[in-house]
């Protein structure tokens, strides 16, 4: 029979637009910024942008998994404060030596994962909508941080810790290296392992996944653990950078920034697919926009407005693709 290649495929030629659109936006933004300000292209400025977005960017990597699986995690910002607070307390309590830094890192990573696990258990075993669970834990984690810190600051006694936060490797800030390294690992996890495939499947259709012998609850649970783990890493890097953290402000708006990076990076809120490198691009886009607004002297109070508009515009553009 003459091969009619069967029915076709209005979106075939558009399939890849999902992946390239954020990259095109980044390139355009880059060119515009280069013309708008002579300082933009200076290496120090570019590295600054990368460092600034790396903290929420690391969390956005975990958020990518959560969103692909069809969930959301609003608690990451508060969780970051609680985890960072306990890490700094550990650091101070053990004398601020190299070993206590290692211990603090361990505490942050373990605690972040544990809090993520708690979120995941409430979502899967408790059968509560992720939005509600993490809205609740967002309030809980922040309140616990305020309580422990008496609404004040957690100051690290270790100057070594601060040095770590300021450090660079080959002139590139350490957090940026860690961000890219984690992105590489999570990209492999997402695209080359069974778990990653299952995350997409679960986000795409839970019932089909269940019938396809996928342990849906376990897959979803682990996305929250990954998110928590990333929060742990990020809270260490940022608290080291500042060598202190404020119980009221630390991690504030990080849920917004990380979700925004994921969405701008082309991962749909409805889940089912997504891209780690897209999220990186999304975070950098946000960083460049902030940078330009600063350079052009736009009031910092207005920057949130711009960020909000960009998120909304990104979703609009996605829908057209």
């Amino acid at each position: 029979m003459a091969a009619p290649s069967a029915m076709t495929f209005p979106a075939l030629s558009r399939l890849r637009a999902y992946n390239t659109a954020p990259l095109i936006a980044l390139a355009a933004l880059f060119v515009i910024s280069a013309f708008a300000s002579p300082y933009f292209l200076q290496a120090q400025n570019l590295l600054n942008i990368l460092r600034q977005v790396s903290y929420s960017g690391i969390i956005a990597l975990g958020m990518t998994f959560v969103i692909i699986s069809g969930g959301i995690d609003l608690s990451v910002g508060s969780m970051m404060a609680l985890v960072g607070a306990l890490a700094v307390l550990t650091l101070n309590g053990t004398g601020g030596t190299t070993w206590s830094i290692a211990l603090a890192v361990g505490v942050a990573v373990a605690l972040g994962s544990a809090l993520g696990f708690a979120n995941g258990i409430a979502v899967t075993k408790g059968r509560i909508a992720p939005f509600i669970v993490t809205l609740g834990t967002m309030a809980i984690f922040r309140s616990l941080t305020l309580y422990v810190g008496d609404a004040g600051e957690f100051r690290s006694v270790s100057s070594l810790y601060g040095d770590l936060g300021m450090s660079t490797v080959l002139a590139v800030p350490t957090p940026v290296w860690i961000w890219f390294l984690l992105a590489f690992l999570l990209d492999v996890l997402l695209n080359r392992t069974r778990y990653g495939r299952y995350v997409c499947a679960v986000g795409s259709n839970e019932k089909v996944s269940q019938y396809s012998a996928i342990n849906v609850d376990r897959v979803r649970l682990w996305t929250y653990v990954i998110a928590g783990l990333m929060v742990g890493v990020s809270s260490i890097l940022l608290s080291a950078r500042l060598n202190s953290l404020s119980s009221t402000n630390f991690g504030k708006d990080f849920e917004l920034d990380s979700i925004a990076a994921v969405i701008i990076g082309g991962t749909p809120m409805t889940g089912g697919r997504g891209s780690i490198w897209g999220t990186i691009v999304g975070a950098i886009i946000l960083g460049i926009i902030n940078n330009m607004l600063n350079m052009l002297g736009v009031s910092p109070y207005l920057q949130g407005t711009v960020k909000g508009l960009v998120i909304i515009a990104a979703v609009l553009v996605q829908r057209k693709l």
Binding site: A6, M7, T8, A11, V208, Q210, Y211, A213
Partner: protein, 498 residues
Amino acid sequence: MTDVLLRTEAITKEFSSVRVLDGISIEIRRGEILGIIGENGAGKSTFIKILSGIYTPTRGKVFLDEKEIALRRHADAKRAGISLIPQEFNLIGDLNVYENIFLGNELRRASGLLDKKAMIRRTGELLAGLEVQIDPEAKIQSLSVAQRQMVEIAKALAYDSRLLIMDEPTTVLTKREIDLLFQRMRGLKERGVTIVFISHKLREVKEICDRVMVLRDGAFICLEEAGALPIDEMARRMVGRELSQVFPAKRAGDGQVALRVEGLTVPGVIEDVSFELRAGEILGFAGLGGSGRTEVAETILGIRKPSRGRILAGEQRLEIRGPGDAVRAGIGYLSEDRQGSGILTAFDVVKNITLVSLKRYLHPLIDRHREQEAAERYVDRFSIRAPSLETRLEFLSGGNQQKVSLAKSIDSEPRILIVDEPTRGVDVSAKQDIYRFVHELADKGISCIFISSELEEIIGMCSRVLVMKGGRVAGQVEGERVSEEEIMYFATGVKGIV
């Protein structure tokens, strides 16, 4: 007024330069029931989507009452009196019947508030006109599939539809419901409504339609009086070649018991179901809709938890707590609900096929190359028509989706395969392909449970048939006794347990 309601002139549709509909020019007569038949991918759906404004044609014109009309969106078609009743209904389960019927078109009082009374009354009239007993205030969720279909029709009539397009309305209905639907369709026809009817069931097309159009590979083949077109001739024109015998020769199992189910009970769902499945056997599961056939499969897969009973493979008792355990125990399942629990429409062909069996492609990361090779083999073997292996399944026709779904359920190399309505919504030649694959699997010693509402295929495929009724096995027919009458006796309770 002429007797032509709608005329199309050289309707052509291309998707990214692939032509899926090629210059269709036809006339639809006022008050007729026009059947459109063709294989999956022949262009039937594309054609009706153009008539209902969901797609715009690449070239060509549509005339209604000899005036050209522009159908840019679905609303344009509705306004012109053309309604589409899609295969998957567009009803909102949480809303009432009347709320669905007036959705987006609500009646209001002078104050601007909703006029519920008027809407309920009007809904009652519409339903009464269709001679169906449905409470306008019932929630859609609480209605049967057949009732929902009637609500869809009532909704179409609420827009004063002159042309009603029905896309495979009978696939989800039982025989009796189909008879009722046909009565209503004839009633509508008498009221002057023109109907376009799409179905894979040629016997139905023959029964209900005045004229039949055949499409093949996007091209117009013929448009003839239904009376002048015997069923085998319809099939021949659809396929473009002679269909050999539909069913392969029957085969019996080789005696060894592959799966034994004893006293399986899920309270309120299935009751004391026991049977044996032999190696290489194709065991039929017949029964009316809701008789518990799918539920037995779901219990074997561990999706439903039995309160009693056990499942044994050989002498070994199987502990199945979920589909994962079932796969490990060598049980594969082809779901009856293709889009709801069978395939991931957003995944491509490769990723669907390897979803259950992904473990086999780890090295330790996923070996995409081997995944591709495996998918290619299935595409060849099942003649799956897809532009590429990276095409998402939502862009494949139903029959090709079903073949991918079958490939998915056998790629884990099960020893026992449960196929549930394996040919639902699939065209003649894809059906034949699927029958052949199931036979080939049985030849290799794989045991198969064949669940179907279509008695014809149960009778054609199975040498032993269990008939279910009310969650129980009502009876078993074997060998020469496998016939439509025998099965229906048990299914309707004339014979066997009552």
